[in-house]
């Protein structure tokens, strides 16, 4: 029974990994751009949740929505002010600019919030819930379900909607897209908004369950890269599967081997998989 609880808990956390990783894979798929600041977007989402709870007394729905909107806006602003100018430049300019952005965001957070760990005050999601004999924190269940829903929604937006078709058209052939009447700049700004927004919501969901400090962005950034590489660069659905797998492996190895060994297992398996299947689970060879 304990193992079932561990497995379900791992999958629920993995769903949140999937959500923020889908944002990273979106930027790659749309623009061939590697965003090193993605983990920082997750971190900022956590602080937005904290501020909404502390200052405004908002509940989970309010801080989740606030994190989505705030980070969507930040994503659009980052695109307009920084990315637009370097995206078609040399690869090194892309790497340095997004890495520089990561440092800027991280140390601004240190400056404003200090390096101390913080936790979200008790929300209406406190407590545990019993489902079929296993006990899970309510916050974790809600976070997992919301994350799966949003990741699938993002996938459907891309593959089933007219807007998604335009986003993909810009990614596939920018010139041809312009001849259709599509404004590539707008589509790419939207891509950054969606990507950062997904990270922001994921951050707010994680904030309900874990203490954090500004350096947490590093951890989640790395995790997002592993998830995206495992799922296949550019595939939102791949990110969903990969996120769930990583959450599961983390939880099970922490249970069997101890929490400090879980990273060794996750990254060890990751390296092994890259060796066997470098394009990831859903990626094209």
């Amino acid at each position: 029974m304990v193992l079932v609880q561990v497995v379900v808990g791992g999958l629920l956390l993995g769903a949140v990994y999937a959500l923020f990783s889908s944002g990273l894979t979106l930027i790659w798929g749309m623009m061939n751009f590697i965003n090193f600041a993605h983990g920082e977007f997750v971190m900022l989402g956590m602080y937005v949740a904290l501020l909404v709870v502390v200052w405004l007394g908002g509940g989970p729905a309010a801080f989740g929505l606030a994190a989505a909107i705030a980070l969507f806006a930040l994503g659009v602003a980052v695109y307009a002010l920084l990315i637009r100018h370097v995206a078609r430049g040399p690869m090194l300019a892309q790497i340095l600019s997004s890495f520089g952005l990561a440092l800027l965001l991280r140390y601004t957070a240190f400056w404003i919030f200090s390096a101390n760990f913080v936790t979200l005050p008790q929300t209406s999601l406190a407590g545990t819930i019993a489902i079929g004999g296993i006990y899970l924190p309510v916050a974790q269940v809600v976070a997992g379900l919301v994350a799966v829903t949003l990741t699938i929604a993002l996938h459907l937006l891309l593959t089933r909607s007219a807007l998604g078709s335009r986003l993909l058209a810009v990614a596939e052939d920018r010139t041809a897209a312009m001849l259709m009447g599509i404004r590539p700049d707008r589509m790419q700004a939207l891509t950054w908004g969606l990507s950062a927004g997904a990270a922001g919501v994921a951050g707010a969901l994680l904030a309900t369950a874990y203490p954090w400090s500004p350096s947490v962005g590093e951890t989640f950034g790395l995790l997002a890269f592993v998830t995206v590489a495992l799922g296949g660069f550019g595939s939102v659905l791949g990110s969903l599967y990969a996120g769930l797998i990583i959450g599961l492996i983390e939880a099970v190895s922490a249970y069997w081997l101890g929490a400090i060994y879980k990273d060794i297992v996750v990254y060890g398996l990751f390296v092994a998989l890259l060796w066997l299947r470098p394009q990831g689970l859903m990626g094209k060879a």
Binding site: A162, L168, A169, E172, D173, T175, M178, L179, M180, G181
Partner: protein
């Protein structure tokens, strides 16, 4: 007043001159051909008209309004569509998605079903394959989709860049029949072609480009008899004769 008027167009790619001095005009209801060998400047001229490249000198006037310097997505919404060389379909998306993308610039969204019907009536093959990815289509079907996609914006003037390139002669024949039919229904066409007989067969007026300039222009019927046209081609491109044999 001509629908489209291009005056002393010059386009530079850095130090390279794409076209040096192009002036042309297209009247409503005409089929105008841009002839010339590879590198003569046909694609550059069409790209500049469509707003993909900003001209370094000269201007493009569309129905009395200067449009040179405006971006491509603004120009297509004015009723001036370009189907680019090599078709440039969105091969990762379905036939239907490609057609819907073609209608992005369409202001009146209620026209969408009627436009789909028109394209599917024109190309029943596309209707059969509308759920299929554009990447799985044959060459002839790709040409149909490119043409259908361009028609989805309901253009007044349709520019086609080398539509016959890479197609089997029988498919080219069907394509040109369709173009004649579209013209009969009132569409104005500006057509860039390497194959002289093909283009002159349906054009009212033609311009012959040579190294970025207009070398010769006149009514298509006159140019068909003009020996100089042949010389301009043969001078630049020795195997042009091979293209002429596939003509109608």
């Amino acid at each position: 007043m001509p629908e489209l008027k291009v005056e002393h167009l010059e386009v530079r790619y850095g130090d390279l001159v794409g076209v040096a001095d192009i002036s042309l005009q297209v009247e409503a209801g005409q089929v105008v051909a841009l002839l010339g060998s590879n590198g003569a400047g046909k694609t550059t001229t069409l790209s500049a008209i469509a707003g993909l490249i900003a001209p370094s000198r000269g201007r493009v006037e569309w129905r009395g309004e200067t449009i040179s310097g405006q971006p491509a997505y603004a120009i297509v919404s004015k009723g001036l569509a370009l189907s680019p060389e090599g078709w440039r379909l969105f091969v990762g998306q379905s036939v239907e998605q490609n057609l819907r993308l073609g209608a992005t610039a369409l202001a009146d969204r209620s026209r969408l079903p009627a436009l789909f019907d028109r394209v599917y009536a024109l190309f029943p093959r596309l209707a059969e394959r509308r759920r299929q990815s554009a990447g799985t289509l044959s060459g002839g079907e790709r040409q149909m989709l490119a043409l259908g996609r361009a028609l989805m914006s309901e253009p007044r003037l349709l520019m086609l860049d080398e539509p016959s390139l890479g197609l089997a002669p029988a498919v080219v024949e069907t394509l040109y029949d369709t173009l004649v039919e579209l013209h009969r229904l009132g569409l104005t066409l500006l057509l860039a072609e390497q194959s002289i007989p093909l283009a002159l067969a349906i054009a009212d007026y033609a311009y012959v480009l040579q190294t970025g300039r207009i070398a010769l222009d006149g009514p298509a019927a006159e140019l068909e008899r003009n020996e100089q046209v042949r010389e301009i081609y043969l001078g630049v491109r020795a195997n042009a004769a091979g293209h002429q044999t596939q003509g109608r």
